[in-house]
Every structure is written in C-alpha cells, then in structure tokens.
Amino acid sequence: MSSTWAYFWWVILPYVAMAVFIVGHIWRWRYDQYGWTSYSTQLQERRRLKWGAPLFHYGTFAAIGGHVLGILVPKSWIDAIGIDEHVYHLFSATAGLIAAALVIVGMGILATRRLFVPRVKATTSPVDWVAMVLLGIMVILGIVVTAINAPLGHEYRDTISIWFRSLFTGSADVSVALQAPLYFQIHAVAAWLLFLLWPFTRLVHAWSYPLWYLWRPYVVYRSRKATPPPEPGTGGRKWRKIGTPY
C-alpha cells in the first residue's frame, strides 16, 4: 500500500468520519428530533421480532463490550491485573464467537422479516436499507475477523488498538496499523463508513437507551412555559399532505 493511500485510509478517513459523526449528530438533534426514534415494527409483526430483536441487540452489546476491552483498554492495564495474553485470547475468542453467533442469528431473523414480511418491508425507507446493508457487512466482517483470528491469535492490541487510540492524541500512528493482517484492516476501515452514516439513519436511537428511567419519578408533570417559535425551515416536522400515497 502506497503511503498516500495509507494516509488516506488510516488518517484522513477516520478524522472525516469522526467529524461527520459529531457534527451530524448535533445537526440531527437540533433539527430532527421528530425523526429520532427506534422505528419499531413490533406493531406490524411480533412473532419473529420476539427472537430477532433481543438476540441482535444483546449480541451487539456483547460485541461492543468486547471492542471496548480490546481497543480502548491498553494491553498493559490488562497485563497489570494479571491476565496474560494467552488467557485474554482464550476469553476474547470464546466470548467473541458467542457474541458473533447471537448477532448473526438475530440479524438474520431481522433481515428476513424486513425482506419478506410485506408489512415490515412497506415501512422501510431507502436510508434504512443502506443502514441495514452496511450493518450487515460490518457484522459479517466482524465475524470473519473473529473466526479467522481465533486460531491465528494475532495480537491486535499491539497494532490496531494502538493506532485507534493514537487517533485521539492528534498524532495518528499509521505504521502500527499497517502491521495488522489485512482482514483486520478491512474491518477497521469499513467501520468508519458506518460511523459516517450513523447520524443520518435510525441508528441514532442507540443514544437514547433510556437509563434515566431508572431514577425518574413515575409521573412527569410539565407546566406551560415559553418556547422559542419554530424557525422557518428548521422545524424538522414531517407532516405529510393528506392523501399522499406511500
């Protein structure tokens, strides 16, 4: 890989994606809270969702936890608490494969129902399809990486992880990233595409997991108070005209 391209994949793309991710979320929050929702289709179809949605989401939580542990937490910290590389890999490969299985089964069920249940398919917007395909690619790449790496045991905590954390120090370390096997590189690069699109899809509902509910009073009261008038063109309202076909 020429150094220019390396620079693009490992420095420019990540920073562009991060900028779009942050600015995109701010924009979406400011102008389209009305569109900020999980877009549940449980009303239309509940039998398959019963298995698909929990499997996918809980599997994803496990996968995210694994990424945090492998990428954000420095290897030295884990070494420091007495978990050596062998034990770590045994654990991460096992847990990773279990999470991968949950995600792929869940995703499979959800994708089938979106593709083949007419009521669900009818509610799917173009950006939903894009998000679904991208998420599908990410999941498959992630599973491939987990499966290939389980026997090979590449220590990504010395390569990809160091590069990822270096992005936040302002001096991106491209050389360590290039030491990682190609399948890791593809997975890492593809992830930025997902982050690029994230703010513009229904994936934003991930930030709204309502943990606050745990300590909120049950009944919420609100009193009338002044609100700024809607600014023209920025209300984000999506009322359709009566009779518009869809």
Binding site: W36, S38, L43, R119, H205, P210, L211, V220, P228
Partner: protein, 542 residues
Amino acid sequence: MRPMAQVAMVMNLDKCIGCHTCSVTCKQTWTNRPGMEYVYFNNVETKPGVGYPRRYEDQEQWHGGWTLDKRGRLQLKAGGRVRKLLQIFWNPNLPSIDDYGDPWTYDYQTVIDAPLGAHNPTAHSISALTGKDVNLHWGPNWEDDLAGAPARAMADPNLAGLEDRVRMEFEDVFMFYLPRICEHCLNPSCVASCPSGAMYKRDEDGIVLVDQDRCRGWRFCVSGCPYKKVYFNHRTGKAEKCTFCFPRIEQGQPTICSETCVGRLRYLGLFLYDADKVLEAAATPDPQDLYEAQLSVFLDPEDPQVRTEAERAGIPTDWIEAARRSPVYALACRHKVALPLHPEYRTLPMVWYIPPLSPVADVAHAEGYDENDPDRVFATIESLRIPMEYLANLFTAGDTSHIRRVLRKLAAIRGYQRAAQLGIDPADDLPEQVGASPDDLDDLYRLLAIAKYDERYVIPPAHTEDAGRLMAQHEQLFCSLDTPGGPGMGGTGPEGVDAFHGGASPGASHQFRDDAGRQRFNLFGWDGSGSAPGLFPEESAP
C-alpha cells in the same frame, strides 16, 4: 392539601345513539394521516362486545395499568423499571395490528375506470399497511350494534363470571354504546411506563400528552395504558394519543367530540383535586373501594378553605369560579350519578360515565309496564341482575350497589318530572327513596335534559399571558443597550436612565427638552420634593 385543576369529561350513556359522529370528527381533526389509519382517539363501542383493540379490558392478558404488590404498594402491572428496560427490544404486552385490524381502504379507481361491461366492477379492499389486497377479519367498530355478538361478544372481559347466565339471543340481549376517549388519568400508567419521559401530564389542566420530539418509540405507553388509548404511529415511529383537543380547550372551546356530539351527551368542566392524596387513593386495597377513594381526592370548590388553598397554589381565580360551575363536578360529586370507567386499573380515570338506564327501562317496557313508573323500574332494576352486574364490572369493579343507586336516581328523575308535567302528585318520598332532595332532582333534570351549550361546557380559557410575557423576553428583537447613545452604540448609557430610578439629584435630571424645544418635566421617578417646573402649559394671556 395541594390543589390542582383537571379538565374532565362526563358522558351520559343514556343519550348515546351510537352515530359515531364524535369518532368521525375526531378522526378528521387528528388522525387522518398516514400511519394513523387504525387510530381512533375517540371510538364508540357497542357493549357487550370485545372492544377496540380486541379484549383490551382484560389486564390479565395485556398487563396495563397498576396493581398492588404483596406489600400493598402501587406498581405497574407490566413490571418495574429494570424489567421494562430489559424488555425494550420486544415488548411482550404490545397488541399487534391484527388486534386492531389491518387498516384498509378500497380500490375505488378500478370502479371508476372500469369499461362498460356485463358485470359490475368491484372495489377490492386494500391494506393501508402494504397496499396489497386483504381479506377483512376485524377492524374498528366491527361489532357495531352487536354485529356478530352471538359468536364473539361472550369474549367481552366484562362478562367474566356471567357467562353461564348471559344469553346472546335477540329477546334476552341488552346493549348500549360506550364512547371512549383517553381518560387523562390522575395517576396515568402510560406516563409512568414511558422510559423516555416524553409523556407528561400538564400542570395547569391535567391533560396527558406525548412530546413528539422526545418520544423514541419504545412502545411501553401503548401497553401500559389499560384503556389502550395511546397508539403507535407506524409511519413516524412515535406514540400519539387523544389530546383532549388542548388547542380548543385552551381557547375555552369544547373538544371536537363534544362539540359535534349529536346526542349532546358530553359534559366538560373542571375538577379541583388534592394532588397529595392521589397515590394514596390509587393504592386503596379493595378495588371496589377505588370509586369512593377517587371521590375523596376531589376538592369541593364551594369550600372557602379549598378556594384559598387553590388560590395559593396558583390556580387562577376564574378557574376556581369555573370549578364551582363545573357540570362534571356536579354530576360526579354533588349528585354522584357519574362513575369512572374501570376504576380497578388504579389510574384514577377522569372521563366518567352516567350508566345507562335504557337497558333496564327497555325490559320494563317490553314487559308491558310504563317505563316511566319509578316503582316498576325500581322493581326491574332489582330483578335485572345481568345488566346490573355487567355495568358494575365496567364502572365500579363489580360493586352493584352504586349502579343500583344511580339507576334508581335516574328513574326517579323521570318519574318525578313526568308527574310534574301531568299535574299528578308524585310520591312524596320519591326523592328521599333515592337519597336526594326535590331540588336535587330538579337540578339533575336541568343538567341532564336541558342544559345548554354553556352549561354543558364550562371551560375557562388557559392563561397564556405569562407564557407570552416570557416569550417576549426570550425573543427580544433588539439589545436594550443598543438604544441611541447606549453602551452598545458607543455611548455611556441610554438617555434618561437615571430619570427612571429617581436619580441622585432630584429635579435636575427630570427636566428635558421635548421635540418642540420646550423645557418639560418628567414626573416618572419624581420623589415629590422640590418643584416640578414646566408640568403645565404656561398660562396664556386672557
């Protein structure tokens, strides 16, 4: 005591003719949008019948509303907060669209475009969800006027315990209509179920709303509401519900369902209630005591102490006056003829119903008796166990004594007025028999039979002045420092600022030259000492 105001409704079921005008105007006003095809903020059900969505009243199936835990504390019937967060990806208690019925329209275009031919073209039914042809199995108002009742109505949850005695045969059947809107409960379980905190009860008038910008589509309000009056918009992915037509209420107008009600059976007005007693009332151990418990939460607006406290709590005076004239308070508390729908859900609902006398009167009539003869109707009330128990299951958690009391009172009004009309002496003890004075019966007669628009709807307009004032401050169009000569314009401060604060040197700064060049004196801020030259025009020569 912590008085709060609540807009509430009472419906007189005897007057409902099941015309669905309320549903139609409500639908046209609020829910004629894509995603809301199946949504009826107001619907009218024929009872007995399973309702909309199917069997929504069976909380053993849907787990809506509240229940008491083993230690007698109030908790959501669907489970606590942690359980909700764990079930967020799939809500086990959510009705599916088939419980409401696949919303449909017809392919009218085919009929219009059909070429001349031997056969009449037909308009297929098309699903609004998929745009494809559907067969219709169930939908809103499917069981109108007991349609299909012999096959289906026995599944009505209110018939539980009566199954072996009820017969769905034409000669024996009774029926009435039950118009339903959101109950705007004092203890709303939908609000408590919303994990996002997007649902709220308005401080000023108790209307329960969904903040469309904060709803994230977690769907627990839909399953948490035991009346199933929160709906999921399947296009926007947000919950929507009956708004009590708040834009109209704020202007002092009745809701659209009330405004257009042909039978004029709806009453709107205020309740004052003690917010401190709400939870205690909702946690009353015996469900049959919940009706009385809810009555005890309401405050009597004639009580001077209540009025003082209400004033102190910031309730505007005209609202307190409106509460004194409130027809719903009169019907529910003074005359005690209105009853809450399903008090056993423990949400303390605020749309109440006067139970229908007609099923009973019909039977008296069918037996060949005068349905206006109170004695005969009283006897029928006593003997008609099944409608009585059925009504009790709807309105008093199964306690027939309240139903009997209300129906006897309604019968007594008829008898009393009839006697007065015909110039016969009514039985002297008739009012007493039903626990009322002759004046009470007259009052009730006025309220139920001849109350005009402004007596049925006593709605004080919202006080938006304060909000307006805040708004003006918020969107101030210019900076106050930017006046000519002000700090924002390079000066030391606006001219005459001192004059507004009774300046340090009285007199001097109060003088200014007006446009015509005359020396004038500014009385504003004058401390009263010293002279005020130039206050009056110079005396002109005679």
